[in-house]
Amino acid sequence: MQIQKLTKQYDGKTVVDGVSFAIPKGKVISLIGPNGAGKSTVMGMISRLIAQDSGLVDFEGRDIGKWKSKELAKRLAILTQSNNIQMKLTVEELVTFGRFPYSGNRITAQDREIIDRAIRYMELEPFRDRFIDELSGGQRQRAMIAMVIAQDTEYVLLDEPTNNLDIYHATNLMKTVRKLCDELGKTVILVLHEINYAAFYSDYICAFKDGKIAKFGTVEEVMTKENLSKIYQVDFEILNIAGKPLSVYY
């Protein structure tokens, strides 16, 4: 996937400003950056949810806007930052929607297996039959992620998937992300505020600031004291733990 000079304005204010980068296939890429830096807007544009003002998103050799929505849904899935579903829907029914691009309303035995696997990955077995509006925030978030996993696409986009998750489930999620990439060969792009998760579990980091890319590179290239201090305006120290550059901020 190639992104060229993406620009987006809201009410005359430029919120994404000439963003270009190539997404390496089969890797985990984390987007980091302060609130309002434009991460979600970029995620929206590279998944055809938001129309860009100018620039191009080239998905597998073709402009993403030219893809048939249904075809794209089998190759790219996105979890957006905020989701409010007003319907009476159980966890299992929600996850089942992940198979919609393939089977419509007629679920096959193979779909069932994929749905079960997604529910297992997110440790949702005890909540299978619960209504999603009667779950805790973290449980609901895990259900949403399970649906995206059930969509079983080459590209998986997750906007702040660790939102609302406790340390156990957040870590578990990051391990799942790694597994999706290493074992199933998927490309995972995620927005994270926990820089250390980004440093520990991803291959590349793309740091945003004020609608532009402040730094894009491998974890080692981006995770330096200077880079992070400049991006976040906070003092940083970098420690080397388990062979990974992890950060302490104060």
């Binding site: 249904k70 849904a73 579903i85 319907m87 029914e93 929607f97 691009p101 309303n105 039959d129």
Partner: protein, 325 residues
Amino acid sequence: MSTAVIRANRRKLVILAVLVLLCAAGYMLVDVRFSNPKLFSYAMRLRAPKLLVMLITAFAIGGASIVFQTIINNTIVTPCLLGMNSLYTLIHTAVVFFFGSGSLIAVSANLSFAVDVVLMGIVATVLYSWIFKKTKHNVLYVLLVGTVLTSFFGSIQSTLTRVMDPNEYDSLLNSLVASFSNVNSEIILFSLILLAGVIFALRKELALLDVLTLGKHQAINLGVDYDRCIRKLLLGVTLCIAVATAMVGPISFLGLIIANLSRQLLRTFRHSQLILGSALFGMVVLIGGQLIVEHVYSYAVPVSVFITVGGGVYFLYLLLTRKKV
């Protein structure tokens, strides 16, 4: 468990259907003199078209309201609350006004209905999709704009009738605005064909309704061609409202009552069940209501008055008991 819910809902729908049958049988047979075959067939000929009209109306309004609520992702609005039926009445009056009451278009019920439907389809779809875009689907704004439009269309319509030649208006009054005591049964066949055509043309979009409840972004993520789908469904809704309004006149709160009763009873996202439930509730309310009006109040109060009063109270109740609009 979800299969248990589906099964339980099926049972509820069967009970509702039985209720509809009882109401229909009651409506057809109460106070009929079986001993006199002439009187009997007279009563049947009088009542059967009216019953059919009520069945069609309930289905059109019930279905349209559920679909509309899903399109706009809110269960407190219905097409009629946003003035769609006033728009239809206005279009119908305007057509008669501009072509004259003697013209072929005004005289033939089916022809004038056809002209109305085409105009309605175009005007309403353009107008309402524009409103949705402008207000960014913000329900409070949509409701506000809808309320303003309702009275706006209403005043233009009444101005038109006032400008008309009084004699012409008098002779037209009956055909101009239908009501329950004066149902427009000439267009039954046309309406049935139109509704069947709408359902057939929209069969793909109707299958997407369940996914649409997840919201715009999720729907796109799951491969729905969102804008196109919404536009087509909206057109279908306007045509259903046109059918209902042409046959029995405006009944603003019916859609709100039956759609929400169906949602409360079935508590599901499955639209096949929600739409069926809403339509069946509509039939019970209309036919049962008409039965009571004709035989208890002996026509003193039209059923639409009951629906408006009851619906208004129910609307307030929904507004006040919901945590968020």
